[in-house]
Amino acid sequence: MLPHEEHEGSRLDTPAPEEAEQEPRIPAQVQGMHSGLDVNATASEPDTNRAPKMSAREVSVFYGDKQALKNVSINIHDDRVTAFIGPSGCGKSTFLRCLNRMNDTIPSARVTGQIELDNEDINSTAMDVVQLRARVGMVFQKPNPFPKSIFENVAYGPRIHGLAQSKPDLEQIVEKSLKRAGLWEEVKDRLQESGTALSGGQQQRLCIARAIAVDPEVILMDEPCSALDPIATAKIEELIHELRGRYAIAIVTHNMQQAARVSQRTAFFHLGEMVEYGKTSEIFTNPHERRTQDYITGRYG
């Protein structure tokens, strides 16, 4: 029995929390046309005092002898989008990969510090990494659909985790996930075609659908739009708005406008350190740290 299975019935069917629905939704395309930073999207910041979904304390990562991340502490809440920004090579991806222990797949990587998911230590022996990754899904920088049909791509997770009791059950999960990823209308007539035949933006939404299909609690996105054109990017951003509230979302981006558009919290990383973390609106209008200021005004990066 998977620990998160008890959520399944309720989670898939509950609508997104209220505040997400009330938020004024500016189409991402329109926002994209503004030249400056647009912080309006974060105006109706939900303010909850609930315990964080995930919390990282004093996390450091070493690749061999080289330290890539220095004592990072952050809380991620399940009703918001948290953005990680910073110049490339500053450790954003490394940190994101700590959250579902993908760094385990790199032999030279060593992680210290404590990371908790619902107050459980994810690095403890009691936590099964396979189940952790089912609860904390991930979307990668470059769309990486499996060389299988669209259907099989989405069905992959439910199959390996035994989430569907029957074929209709599985079909329903696939349909729901594709709908939620905003891809259903485009692919419903060609579910048996190869996932790799889709366009880049569709592939990325397929990867999101694939991650959604195992009904995760957290979705990590590592620069999900960096390989996409502006229209596909706008679709993904819109999708992030829609998914917000259902899943805790952490997104890495090197595009500051994107961070401003999609997130409610922003963390600024520099040279392996987390320099500043706060409300997105504040980070972009009134940063406390000099380095943050320099970065968002384009002085480096």
Binding site: M102, F140, P147, Y156
Partner: protein
């Protein structure tokens, strides 16, 4: 003068011309700026002196023996020879052997009188050819030397000569293949004049022994190739692959996905040593060690027909031989599956083996299949193991403990020992060779196509 001497002379001319070109350019260099370094001028002149002359020499030497023959036959001694072709041939060849000092005295008295004539004509033509080649070397060298000027682009000229040289080298390989194919086809056509194609391709009886006299028993052999093709297929494509595909694939998966880099750096070379074992060693391993064990096992489980030259023994050992081949092909295609695909699956919460079974292997499958096809084409062309461990009896059986024979075994059988080169028995070997060649060719083409298709997928 012999052609060897001419060869040495040409090389000497080229060296002198090259040195001359070099020093001339070096002298020019003190006065003006050269387009090319003096060494290029030297090399350019030397190449011009050497290559056309060497080509002439190479073209001349096969022509020379024919010219000598014709001159000898039209000489007074030659005209007195009997007109009957075979007799004249044998006298001529005897005379040639005497002329080259390979034998003292001929069986035919005429040959001794012919020998000095041959020697004389031989040296006359060698002198002609050699002189012409040396002359060409001198002329071409002089032509090249005249071009030694500051603005002359000797560097480009050398480049062009090298390109021609490389082209010639690759043409030799292609032309040789073509020549082998043509000779196979030619000899096969001769065989099919003696024996119908249909019976060769579809006949199920193979008994190539032909009697010496027409009235003896079994005077007409049967050359149905089906039992041989079946035996080849049974050993090389079925038994060997049943051994090699799972073992090779699993070892590739272990080496690429599970093994610690240190373990991998030990195991991989050891596996490659397996590929370096001479096939004859595998052959006697199969015949002396494996075959008796297989026979005893067969008898123990009640197969009374178990033979000490079984398809199973040869196939097992051939499978072992093929393992490193399959393993390294599979290794390559597994490594070609992008890491992103693996990460995608792991990030979904799949275990390592689930990721391998459901994502990596399906993605690598076309490459693996291509590798297996190449392995099959190697296995069916393999000779030593089957000659030593498979039988000679052309049985059409699916019993792995029974003896079967293969195409390569039979070719060896047909061509070893004294043979007349125009009997159906000998010519059948060429038809078998052609069949084997075509089968492996088709297998290789399909495999390459599959592998290339697969590689494009991840570019």
């Amino acid at each position: 003068m012999s052609l060897t001497l001419a060869l040495a002379a040409i090389l000497a001319v080229a060296a002198v011309v090259g040195w001359h070109g070099f020093s001339r350019a070096a002298r020019l260099r003190t006065a003006t700026r050269l387009h090319s370094l003096p060494s290029y001028h030297g090399a350019y002149a030397a190449l011009w002196a050497a290559i056309p002359a060497l080509l002439l020499l190479a073209a001349w030497s096969p022509m020379q023996s024919r010219l000598v023959d014709r001159a000898v036959l039209s000489s007074p001694e030659g005209r007195s020879l009997p007109a009957f072709d075979m007799q004249r041939e044998s006298i001529l060849s005897e005379a040639r052997e005497i002329a080259y000092g390979q034998r003292e005295q001929g069986f035919n008295p005429e040959s001794s009188t012919l020998a000095p004539r041959i020697r004389a004509e031989e040296s006359r033509f060698a002198l002609m050819g050699g002189a012409a080649a040396i002359l060409l070397a001198l002329l071409a060298g002089a032509f090249a030397l005249r071009r030694t000027k500051p603005e002359f682009r000797a560097r480009r000229g050398v480049e062009r000569w090298l390109m021609i040289l490389l082209l010639a080298a690759s043409l030799i390989a292609i032309l040789t293949t073509l020549g082998i194919l043509l000779s196979l086809m030619f000899e096969s056509l001769r065989f099919f004049n003696l024996y119908p194609v249909g019976s060769f391709l579809f006949g199920t009886e193979w008994s190539p022994q032909t009697a010496i006299r027409a009235d003896q028993a079994g005077s007409s052999g049967a050359f149905g190739s089906i039992p041989l093709l079946w035996g080849t297929f049974f050993i090389g494509a079925i038994i060997a692959m049943i051994v090699a595909v799972p073992l090779g694939l699993m070892s590739a998966i272990f080496l690429t996905q599970y093994a610690h880099p240190r373990v991998r750096s030990w195991l991989k070379p050891i596996l490659e040593i397996l590929a370096g074992v001479p096939t004859v060693v595998y052959g006697y391993f199969a015949a002396l060690t494996v075959a008796p064990v297989v026979r005893d096992f067969g008898l123990a489980i009640g197969v009374s027909s178990a033979s000490s030259e079984s398809a199973l023994a040869a196939g097992l050992v051939m499978g072992i031989m093929i393992i490193p081949f399959i393993s390294s092909m599979a290794d390559d295609s597994i490594a070609a599956v992008p890491q992103a695909m693996r990460d995608g699956s792991l990030a979904m919460g799949a275990t390592k083996s689930e990721t391998i079974r459901k994502v990596v292997l399906p993605a690598a499958l076309p490459g693996v299949i291509g590798g297996v096809l190449l392995a099959v084409s190697r296995a069916i062309g393999e000779t030593m193991i089957v000659v030593m461990a498979a039988g000679l009896a052309a049985n059409l059986t699916a019993n792995p403990f029974a003896s079967v024979t293969t195409v390569t075994t039979q070719i060896v059988q047909l061509l070893t020992g004294d043979q007349e080169f125009d009997s159906a028995k000998t010519l059948a070997a060429f038809a078998l060779g052609l069949a084997l060649f075509l089968i492996t060719l088709v297998l290789n083409l399909i495999a390459l196509h599959v592998v290339r298709k697969y590689q494009e997928q991840y570019e």
